[in-house]
């Protein structure tokens, strides 16, 4: 019940392919669900993130349906696999914009895939709601580009404050993914950390496929920092932590929220003990939206703990529902509704309201966690 | 008369084996010299050294009294040396016509102006634009190819547009020789032109080589079929284990005890071929 059943989808997409123009008026029937398009990776190197998106979407949809749907209608999504490849995301974009049932698009995952599709969404007047698109230029693609991705200009100063002000680190080694996200994050982090009075003694960018960090860590060691900052995803973050401990680096490690995943604990094992993570929420967070999300997620997915990407997609689906409630099924009205939604309950933001200028949400929540006994726990202020 | 080709102390070693060992040879204009010898005597290696496909470890090659040692094959082709290969190396996917036109490549003038540095770019431009001069040159060469093919009677002309891989073995050898002739060579090296041919095909090939010789072409020939060698050659050079063991008129060489021993002392194939040819 989480999604359209496959047959409907098949019929839908065939119909869209064969008679895009004719289908325009055909689906106004209110027994049909309101359809969102999702463009994201289900195969290819980033497939894991698309899978996580689905989990968050499906949970949010369950809750939305249980609460009676949107304006009395069902909400559903059609997920098209782009492999995070710009060539496929542009084709998907044309498919969505010419399918009149689609009222809003979510995704894509990577910046090249998302931003290549932006001109198509912008010209056709369909909102491209990129909830993991932190690239600073994403929402500059036009007034149909909106994002709930936490701006790194917001997130990184929080991490810098945690590392420098709270943990008292003064000489930092920054290891970052050499992607647009990692690079932007690093720049914001470095700026904020310097403002707080810390020194960046070494900064190393690595490519996503990297597995071996031993030599990088020798460079880090030789710069004798008192803390390591990981601007990483959970899989590479876990690799770095393990290898840092193996080569005998005992410095404090502090990681960006993107490592916040049970997988980080599983892959990192003992090595990630005492790693500090600045996140947007944490399991014991008393906020009702967080408790509802975590309890619901565990129930739906056999006790599995949700991670950051699950939370992003869960929030995104809730936001989409809120926008559709105001904007209805008209694409332009939906665009306008993004400027109107106020205080949508959100795991990441507490309550989310768009800044109309930047088309992003400001004021992400902040939680300072540390890994203790193999679990994420709120940091108690004690040094590690 | 000035020598066409002169080899002095030409040597090539592969690891411990000396494939060509201090070979001296003089070839006058219009002469036909055959190189014979048992298998792996170094004959083909010698051809490779003369045509620039391999570099000698020692010694010199002079062509028309200029030192051409270790020049590239393409330079030597431009100077007028053409060769055929032991294994019949035609361009398998090219038509008979195209195979032979490649032979005339060094003679393309209109489409390959001798301009330094940007010459290749001009060649590309001319190939795409095809001005009248380029078209005319191509047309002339195509006519010429048909004249060369006429030497082979009806063997190749009806198959002129067929890909070379579809030809019989003997026809592929003919295409190779036609390709070499299209270069208008000053020196022609033939590496076993009749290998794998039946007696009538061999006789036909022998007639062709005799014709070329009569036209004044200078030819260096590797051949196992002694009867043909004896009929055609002005001189015969015998090689064994990289060395020249005999040189002279056909009959004298044939009865040289060193030559007989070399043939008997080595693999049976050389001797067998000698018998079959005799």
């Amino acid at each position: 019940m989480s999604n359209l059943d496959r047959r409907t989808l098949v019929k839908g997409s065939l119909a869209a392919m064969m008679a895009g123009a004719m289908s325009r008026a055909a689906f106004a029937d209110s027994s049909e669900p309101i359809l969102l398009g999702v463009s994201g990776p289900l195969t290819g190197p980033n497939a894991q993130y698309g899978t996580q998106w689905k989990q968050g979407f499906d949970l949010a949809l369950d809750e939305i349906m249980a609460a009676g749907g949107v304006n009395g209608r069902k909400l559903a999504y059609s997920f098209e696999d782009s492999q995070s490849d710009p060539r496929q995301s542009v084709a998907i974009a044309q498919k969505f914009v010419s399918d009149s049932r689609i009222v809003l698009e979510l995704g894509d995952f990577s910046s090249p895939a998302s931003m290549a599709a932006s001109p198509i969404y912008q010209r056709a007047g369909l909102v491209q709601f990129g909830f993991t698109n932190s690239h600073p230029d994403f929402t500059k693609g036009g007034d149909f580009m909106w994002s709930t991705s936490v701006s790194q200009a917001d997130e990184q100063p929080l991490l810098a404050r945690y590392a420098v002000k709270r943990l008292g680190l003064k000489k930092l080694a920054v290891l970052h993914l050499n992607t647009d996200w990692g690079r932007t994050s690093r720049d914001h982090f470095v700026k904020a950390a310097k403002e707080y009075g810390a020194e960046i003694v070494v900064s190393e960018g690595y490519i996503a496929e990297e597995r071996d960090f031993r030599s990088t860590l020798v460079r880090v060691r030789d710069a004798s920092p008192d803390g390591l900052i990981l601007i990483s995803y959970y899989s590479d973050g876990a690799l770095i932590a393990r290898q840092a401990r193996q080569v005998g680096l005992k410095q404090v490690m502090c990681a960006a929220s993107s490592v916040y995943s049970p997988k980080f604990l599983e892959l990192g094992g003992e090595a990630v003990e005492d790693v500090h993570v600045g996140t947007r929420y944490f399991p014991e967070d008393p906020r009702p939206e967080v408790q509802k999300f975590i309890a619901g997620f565990k129930k739906k997915y056999n006790g599995q703990e949700p991670d950051a990407f699950n939370a992003y997609s869960y929030d995104a689906m809730n936001m989409a529902a809120a926008v559709v409630r105001i904007g209805g099924t008209d694409r332009r009205a939906i665009r306008d509704a993004f400027a109107k939604v106020k205080d949508v309950p959100s795991v990441i933001f507490g309550t989310a309201t768009f800044d109309v200028e930047s088309r992003r949400v400001k004021g992400a929540m902040n939680a300072e966690l540390v890994v203790r006994k193999g679990q994420f726990a709120l940091w108690d202020g004690k040094p590690t | 008369m000035a020598p066409m080709l002169t080899l002095r102390g030409l040597t090539r070693r592969f690891g411990g084996l000396t494939a060509v060992d201090a070979i001296d040879l003089d070839l006058a204009k219009g002469e036909l010299v055959s190189i014979i010898g048992p298998n792996s005597a170094g004959k083909t290696t010698l051809f490779n050294l003369v045509t620039g496909h391999d570099r000698p470890d020692a010694g010199a090659v002079l062509f028309e009294e200029r030192d051409v040692t270790a020049l590239s094959p393409e330079t030597l082709a431009a100077r007028g040396i053409a060769r055929t290969f032991q294994l019949g190396r035609v361009f398998a996917n090219l038509s008979v016509m195209d195979n032979i036109l490649i032979g005339a490549h060094t003679r393309l003038r209109a489409v390959r102006p001798a301009v330094p540095v940007i010459g290749p770019l001009i060649e590309l431009g001319l190939a795409l634009l095809r001005p009248a001069s380029v078209k005319a040159e191509e047309e002339r060469l195509r006519e010429e190819v048909k004249i060369i093919l006429a030497r082979f009677g009806e063997r190749l002309l009806p198959r002129i547009d067929q890909p070379a891989y579809s030809l019989s073995y003997a026809n592929r050898r003919r295409v190779e020789i036609a390709r070499a002739l299209a270069l208008k060579p000053r020196l022609l090296l033939l590496d076993e032109p009749t290998a794998g041919m039946n007696p009538s095909e061999t006789a036909e090939m022998q007639g062709l080589v005799a014709e070329l010789k009569a036209e004044g072409l200078t030819i260096l020939l590797i051949e196992h079929k002694l009867e043909m060698v004896m009929r055609l050659s002005d001189r015969v050079v015998v090689m064994d284990e990289g060395k020249k063991i005999a040189e002279g008129a056909g009959e004298a060489v044939r009865n040289d005890p060193k030559v007989i021993e070399a043939y008997l002392g080595h693999g049976l194939s050389g001797a067998a071929e000698q018998e079959s040819a005799a």
């Binding site: 060539r87 542009v90 498919k95 290891l175 020798v218 193996q246 080569v247 | -």
Partner: protein, 607 residues
């Protein structure tokens, strides 16, 4: 000073890891003269079987190794029997493509079975660390080194002293002669694939334990690094592969030491190109060997290309030209726009790979050069888009030819490996040369396509523009093939030694082919940049190069119409399979395998 010791040790440790893959690749190459692109996938399969054994079945380590080795060997045997043996008598390029198809299929099967999420693969060895220099090594490092060295040694003994090993060596030196001498080549191949796959599977498991992490993306990286190490050591040379791996590890480690982490792979691929240029047969081959005397046309199948009548081509062109006037959806138009852009790349590649025989695996680099040139010119210098695209094509032609020229003296598979490395180098330079390319941030806000001051933004106008450019390039290329250059290129492809004997300079004509092809690829990249409005170093990746090569082989090498037909097929098929959702790449892989099996000379045949 002590840091250098650490860098050295780290280099050796990671080299150790590469060696496990490289040895398997070397063994297969030694016998079949085939770069097995599926080796990384077997490595992946081994890792996941290891996971099942360790996490689900709780097997002890020795048993785990046996289970993984046996299961992976079985996969190897299946690949050999059903994937490669039927291709024995077809073109040499067919098995290469088949291994690419097999790797698609295996990777997808693993992903579908185990989900793409990374998993932890706990080490079953005691967690003790030994202090060496400034760092530590653990028992797994020793085990990996042990497995690497032991397998290299065992292989050496096997090849030297056993009867089957003797047959393997005989087959690797001269397959036909070995068959005449009564060697059962099929059995040899089976043995080799079984052993190599067992090794590959065990190495995947050990490396997974080493990092306590396995995921489905590890396959391509393993293949890439393994191929580099293998070729550095001398393709087909088993001990050489081990030494090549260690050397690769060291070069990477020192590269990190001197220039920083982001330059790491740059050094790996530069090492490869330098070795290929200076010692094309690997570091451990003797310098001067007897010149090879290959039979003619072994790489390219003799083929009678399908002649498509002119009226049919005209009719097809007319239908496609009129398509936007018919009630077709923008999605269909966009898919075809993608096909036309890929078509331009395929035209380029079919010329250099098909017509002149330089099978390039780094062709996406030419797209990237064209795209960046065009994007930067139109953004920074306000050059009109139409002119910027042409400039992108010219830059790609010039720079691409210069970059690829070191590979001109290489033959066969070595060309593919060199161009693969050159492609990676271009991508890494784009990533690191921030002052020009803006590094990982990429270039955004690239102006849309426009011509004579009119913006081309509607799908129909973009469709017509890209279709017209592709048709123009195709006609130009057909004209080129009809000239003396066409036959010269093909002659070089069929037999470069005979071609040189007739005065064809390889450098000159390979350069001309790359100049012409580079232009088409650069134009394609330029148009893509303006279409996407945003590009970064990931936009034009290795997968693009592999896709383009697949198109070219599918369409028929050197075949202009085939390149276009292949592009439409390979862009269209995954879109048609969309209804199969996450199974679509699996289906695509199987279709590819069937095509290679039943039509190795391509749909329309080699020209």
């Amino acid at each position: 000073m002590s840091s250098w010791l650490d860098y050295t040790i780290n280099g050796l440790i990671v080299g150790n890891v590469y060696a496990l893959v490289a040895v398997g690749l070397a063994l297969i190459f030694g016998v079949s003269r085939l770069i097995n692109f599926a080796q990384g996938s077997i490595y992946l399969v081994g890792a996941y079987i290891g996971w099942v054994a360790v996490v689900q079945l709780h097997t002890p380590l020795p048993l785990t190794i046996i289970v993984v080795a046996a299961a992976a060997a079985l996969v190897g045997l299946v690949i050999e029997r059903f994937g490669l043996r039927p291709l024995q008598n077809s073109v040499r390029i067919a098995p290469l493509l088949a291994t690419i198809g097999i790797s698609f299929v295996l990777d997808q099967l693993v992903m579908l079975t185990f989900s793409p999420n990374p998993r932890a693969l706990p080490s079953q060895l005691p967690d003790v660390r030994f202090q060496v220099g400034g760092g530590t090594i653990g028992p797994l490092d020793l085990l990996i080194a042990g497995v690497g060295l032991t397998s290299a040694l065992l292989l050496f003994v096997f090849l030297r002293y056993s009867k089957l090993g003797w047959a393997v060596r005989a087959a690797s030196q001269d397959r036909d002669a070995a068959m005449q001498m009564g060697v059962d080549v099929n059995r040899v191949n089976q043995a080799v694939f079984g052993i190599a796959a067992a090794l590959g599977g065990v190495s995947g498991m050990l490396v997974g334990m080493y990092y306590n992490q396995i995921d489905t993306a590890m396959s391509l990286q393993a293949t890439l690094k393994g191929v580099v190490a293998e070729v550095v050591g001398g393709a087909g040379n088993v001990p050489g592969a081990v030494i090549g791996s260690l050397l690769l590890g060291l070069v990477e480690s020192y590269g990190v030491a001197v220039f920083g982490t982001s330059y790491r792979n740059l050094f790996a691929f530069l090492l490869l190109v330098v070795v290929l240029v200076l010692r094309p047969n690997g570091l451990f081959a003797s310098a001067r060997q007897a010149p090879p005397e290959p039979l003619t046309g072994t790489f390219i199948a003799p083929s009678r290309p399908l002649r498509i009548p002119r009226w049919a081509l005209l009719a097809a062109a007319a239908i496609f030209a009129l398509l936007p006037l018919l009630p077709v959806s923008f999605y269909v138009l966009q898919t075809l726009i993608n096909a036309w852009l890929l078509g331009m790349l395929a035209l380029s590649l079919t010329l250099v790979a098909g017509t002149i025989g330089q099978v390039s695996l780094g062709h996406a680099a030419l797209l990237a050069i064209g795209a960046y040139t065009s994007a930067l010119l139109s953004l920074s210098a306000a050059v009109p888009v139409g002119l910027a695209i042409i400039a992108g094509g010219l830059m790609s032609a010039a720079l691409g030819t210069i970059l690829i020229s070191p590979s001109f003296r290489l033959r066969g598979h070595y060309v593919s490996i060199a161009t693969l490395a050159i492609g990676e180098i271009v991508s890494l330079v784009i990533l690191n040369w921030e002052s020009v390319t803006r590094g990982p941030i990429g270039i955004s806000g690239i102006p849309p396509l426009s011509l004579f001051g009119y913006d081309l933004v509607s799908p129909a106008s973009i469709y017509w523009f890209s279709f017209a450019v592709m048709v123009a390039l195709a006609l130009l290329q057909a004209r080129l093939l009809g000239s003396h250059l066409g036959r010269s290129f093909r002659a070089i492809r069929d037999d470069d030694i005979a071609a040189r004997a007739y005065g064809l300079s390889l450098n000159r004509y390979k350069s001309l082919a790359f100049i012409f092809g580079g232009f088409a690829a650069g134009v394609s990249g330029g148009i893509a940049a303006h279409l996407y409005s945003y590009i970064n170093h990931e936009t034009f990746n290795t997968q693009q190069s592999i896709l383009a090569l697949t198109v070219v082989i599918l369409g028929g090498l050197g075949n202009v119409v085939g390149a276009v037909v292949g592009s439409v097929a390979l862009v269209g098929l995954p879109e048609l399979f969309r209804i199969a959702a996450e199974y679509r790449i699996l289906i695509y892989g199987i279709v590819l395998l069937l095509l290679v099996r039943f039509r190795p000379q391509g749909l329309l045949g080699t020209i």
